[in-house]
Symmetry: C2
Subunit: 306 residues, 2 copies
Amino acid sequence: MSTIAICEVGPRDGLQNEKAVIAPEDKVQFIQLLAGAGLKEIEATSFVRPGVIPQLSDAEQVFAAVKHLQTEISLPVLVPNAKGLERALQSGVKSLAVFTATSESFTKKNTNATLKESMDRIRDIMKELQSQPEVRVRGYISTVVDCPYEGKQDPGKCAAIVTELLEMGCFEVSLGETIGTAVPEDIRRLLDSVLRSNPAEKLAGHFHDTRGTALANVFAALDMGIRSFDSSAGGMGGCPYAPGAAGNVATEDLVYALHRSGFETGVNLTDLCRATAHIEQAVGRPSTSRVYQAMKASSIQISEQE
Amino acid sequence: MSTIAICEVGPRDGLQNEKAVIAPEDKVQFIQLLAGAGLKEIEATSFVRPGVIPQLSDAEQVFAAVKHLQTEISLPVLVPNAKGLERALQSGVKSLAVFTATSESFTKKNTNATLKESMDRIRDIMKELQSQPEVRVRGYISTVVDCPYEGKQDPGKCAAIVTELLEMGCFEVSLGETIGTAVPEDIRRLLDSVLRSNPAEKLAGHFHDTRGTALANVFAALDMGIRSFDSSAGGMGGCPYAPGAAGNVATEDLVYALHRSGFETGVNLTDLCRATAHIEQAVGRPSTSRVYQAMKASSIQISEQE
């Protein structure tokens, strides 16, 4: 049976984009519950400049409280630049995520840099890390299909950025369908191009569910050999720079669909729903995960396996 | 460009399963708005025994008010037996839907009949209609993948029921994934069997979105040549005999995904959202359609086409 790697992005990508301000204690408990549910890679926080994203001003505090989990699992944190790297390393971070996009306009809005400057920042981070080969770095590319400002993106451009990030030393590159407009045909067209020059085992799918197509896109990517996906427990999140964009595909929905399709994830769905129940209360709005809602509505045990 | 036929089931399958009692005037306006949005086949109501489903006790009243639309579009009504047929014909109905299931237990709970009795009732209806060849009959089969009482269903059994319904004279058979547990692999296994003895152009997919997999299942069916799907505006509905079952795939999500994938539906997404906005107020709970939510949240025009 084939195994799928899931990177849980709820505590960072998810909560960062919720309106409610979540107490650091709630974030810590959320991460602990997610780890308890069997998630092996949990995006813990982001070391952006304090003040830019108020939701993330507690990065040090949150990371210090969950740091010990790194003996068992991976806790990537988002790092935008050399300053963020310094803070992350001081905090004892062993796994980083760096980010760029295919779109100039999106990069400008998101990071106040040109695309070239954004890649230069990543190169600086990777150079700085040459003396610390134990620190893993994951690359994110946003707007891989559509940009809210520029529209349709060129898959070839994405393919070239993937190659550059892998050459810089990223162990994996996550393809971010940021605004959730894509359908399976878009994902096939993108991967047709990206896989021509990059191996499937170095790629992950990061699909937002704004128009309900995320899970269909996951299946399109699975068909093309992708075995790593990002998801957000309870479907928390969105994107502040992409109006109307909903959260990532819900981890519950992804896990249910994968298990039922014969894949292993190592995640226990009931425990995962407990983590979502905790954060749902803290966030103050109901989870958008269909599987979570179904499990809550009925006391019927959902059959995950054939 | 290929065309997909959509059967809008919101006014019947959808509203029947909502807790709120909807005024007949609201149903009528809903149907009119749906027709205005370009839907060519709208399930208008159901002629079940008055009292069994209180939501449907206004069948005659609702149908009388929309009957004139039949000059342009199809308004199928659900008919469970000879008595229902009599009422439907007296009301001037030109398109019927009859229903059965693959599961004995579900048929018993749903219609208080054995599977054989259920097929006999349909045969009686078809005989009665021999003198009225202008009345079209659509067949529904429930629980085609899983039954809430019996679990996994045999695709071969479904294939045989499809053949029987087509031989009786149904112009199309809709395959009902009633409880929304299926993933694309289930749909492929089902269709592999059903298509061995039945043509794709006589089949429709009716997928509930209880676990978020409905649209992924639509794409699996599209890949296998199915060109007709049922959906519910705003994702209204569920199934009272299948605990925890959510509504059909939302028509907005289906239409968006199909248009973006290069298919034609004849449906205007903005007008469709107006129909959902109307019924959302009457139902008193927010629509679960992701596309509807996205269009409501942002004033950005969703790009439907390449």
